[in-house]
């Protein structure tokens, strides 16, 4: 027997995402989804629903959060570079190189998210100064 619980769950799993992705739901629902994604620092999730939220402030919040996160990663990158310069052990140098690679990748990803968020504000370019505003304040 096909249970009611199974139907409810199946309905949610099968229909929830396609219906939400169709953009037909009220803007308030998308704002709810974006805020929920932001609470978990799920930037791709938040960006995905941004176009249906009709709330520029949410895009601005996402941009600022991304810039703050970028600043943190930039600090870590600088710290790893300092450590790499002063390290003589080959094994350690390899570890720091790996860390540098990861931080660089993270920064690149965050920059891509920032570009996507800014596009919702009619500003396709990230940052205000060379290297972005987060570089200006990261020191």
């Amino acid at each position: 027997m096909l249970g009611l619980g199974l139907l409810v769950r199946l309905g949610r799993q099968v229909l929830a995402k396609p219906v939400a992705d169709s953009g037909v739901l009220p803007a308030g629902f998308y704002r709810h989804l974006i805020l929920a994604a932001l609470e978990e620092e799920d930037f791709p999730g938040a960006l995905h629903y941004l176009k249906w939220a009709g709330e520029p402030l949410l895009a601005q919040i996402i941009v600022l959060r991304l810039r703050l996160l970028s600043a943190r990663h930039r600090d870590r990158l600088a710290a790893a570079q300092d450590l790499l310069r002063s390290e003589v052990s080959a094994a350690r140098r390899e570890q720091y190189q790996a860390l540098l690679g990861e931080e660089t990748r993270a920064l690149k990803l965050l920059r891509e998210y920032e570009v996507r968020a800014l596009a919702h504000l009619g500003n396709p370019r990230p940052g205000l100064t060379e290297g972005g505003p987060s570089r200006a304040q990261s020191g």
Binding site: M1, G3, V8, G28, F29, H32, Q60, L68, L118, P133
Partner: protein, 107 residues
């Protein structure tokens, strides 16, 4: 005599009936229904409280901008202004929040 608005007996009977219904559905279908319903209710409640959640999101953002606890409000304000030059609406809101913090600190 004041009007009686709450019924302990009613609540107990209602709670028991709900529990029996849940167990019955679970036994017959083998699935939990209430968790799904509670999730839907939670989402609905989340939507009703959008303004509050937006305010909380702004507060969280401000806390993230503050970084370490020893950073003073003027420094936080400077940092926010630096980062939100192209985000006027957010800059104004966060600026007001920081100003309120400065005023509270001075009071």
């Amino acid at each position: 005599m004041p009007k009686k608005d709450l019924s302990i007996n009613g609540a107990l009977v209602g709670g028991m009936a709900g529990w029996v219904a849940e167990v019955t559905i679970q036994e017959v279908t083998g699935h939990h229904v209430t968790s799904g319903l509670l999730e839907l209710l939670g989402a609905a409640a989340g939507m009703w409280r959008l303004d509050k959640r937006l305010a909380q999101s702004l507060k969280d953002t401000l806390e993230q901008a503050q970084g370490s606890q020893d950073r003073d409000y003027q420094e936080v304000k400077r940092r926010i202004e630096e980062l939100t030059r192209d985000l006027p609406e957010l800059r104004e809101i966060l600026g007001n929040m920081v100003d309120a913090g400065i005023s509270a600190q001075q009071a």
